[in-house]
């Protein structure tokens, strides 16, 4: 094989390798039921302080990714607040994580749609990427041991929480 042919072969190999690497990396952030929930210490919203999902180990945690500009999130906030009010005595909590947003808008959203459950804030789309998120809102039910019990990529309503989330929580007790 001549030097020129070897060079061409190596160039083609590099391009194919790069494409394969790209394809494999795109699927790297997928998460699945039964796996440990992605977690990170984040600033509390509206602050001060920090928090993480791990702080609620021993409880069921319904993690809700939301953003102030997301219209379904506005309808979902009171639903989640009601769910939190009904279940907070059953070792269950809701944890909001604000993503892809700016802080002032997030604060304004919480003033307009007050929630009693804890809220954290992720800068940019870092947490969305960790959850393999495709948009907002998205909801993730986390078992008391920190594993994912349910992944719901969209808004929840009272019926969904009653039929899909509550049986999982009640079934464990």
């Amino acid at each position: 094989m001549s030097a020129r042919s070897l060079l061409a072969f190596l160039a083609v190999l590099a391009v194919v390798g790069l494409l394969a690497f790209g394809l494999l990396n795109k699927g790297a952030t997928k998460i699945a039921v039964g796996e440990a929930v992605p977690d990170k210490v984040l600033p509390a919203l509206p602050g001060p302080g920090h928090g993480s999902i791990a702080e609620y180990r021993g409880k069921w945690v319904l993690v809700n990714l939301w953003a102030s500009w997301c219209i379904p999130c506005r309808e979902e906030a009171p639903v989640l607040q009601r769910f939190y009010g009904r279940n907070r005595g059953n070792d269950t909590t809701v944890l909001g994580i604000n993503v892809q947003d700016n802080e002032d808008d997030a604060r304004a959203f919480l003033r307009e749609h007050p929630t009693a459950y804890p809220q954290l804030r992720s800068v940019g789309d870092e947490r969305s990427a960790a959850f393999g998120s495709t948009g907002v809102p998205e909801n993730f039910l986390v078992e008391p041991d920190g594993d994912l019990a349910l992944i719901w990529r969209g808004p929840v309503d009272d019926q969904f929480l009653r039929e899909r989330v509550t049986p999982l929580i009640k079934g464990s007790s």
Partner: protein
């Protein structure tokens, strides 16, 4: 009823009237001074200049091309900072603090996006090596084709040709 008589009617005591006049005059003089002193910074950049250089992270496009709800909020945020007199670099810093580094139109230095940095470096390295080899080969082939002294002597005109050449040269000799 004149203004003067109405004023006197409201404030019959002259001392009170004088104090009130002084206060009103001071207020009238202070109002433009306060307005002039209010912070009104001149914009250091424009909304369009920023929007052409930053991303709508959710849409994956330049902010100036994006029309999603998130992009609209981001545009409001940019406009507010520009109106506050922030420079382009300050606005970009604030955007990164709020939306993360993906708001800058720069690829991540990890995963597949890393190739955006590596490929140009590799391409330059390969091009340099190819150029180096080409120059070396060209120089080698140039040296090989250079005629030697023996070749030059062998190719010199002989006999009649040499005489004719000598005659021609002497004819043009000045």
């Amino acid at each position: 009823m004149s203004f003067r008589s109405a004023f006197s009617g409201l404030f019959p005591d002259k001392a009170h009237r004088n104090v009130l006049c002084v206060l009103m005059t001071a207020a009238a003089l202070a109002t433009p001074a306060i307005a002039a002193g209010a912070p009104h910074p001149a914009p250091q950049t424009t909304v369009n200049a920023i929007e052409a250089e930053v991303m709508c992270p959710i849409c994956g496009t330049l902010l100036e091309l994006a029309e999603s709800p998130q992009a609209r909020r981001e545009k409001v945020f940019v406009a507010k900072l520009v109106a506050e007199g922030k420079s382009k670099a300050e606005v970009k810093d604030a955007l990164v603090a709020q939306y993360g580094p993906s708001v800058l139109a720069l690829p991540k230095a990890s995963g597949f996006d890393l190739s955006a940095y590596l490929v140009p470096i590799l391409a330059i390295a390969i091009a340099t090596v190819v150029l180096l080899f080409s120059v070396l080969r060209w120089r080698r082939s140039g040296r090989a084709s250079e005629p030697s002294a023996a070749d030059a002597a062998a190719s010199a005109p002989q006999g009649e040709d040499a005489e004719r050449l000598e005659a021609d040269l002497s004819r043009y000799d000045l």
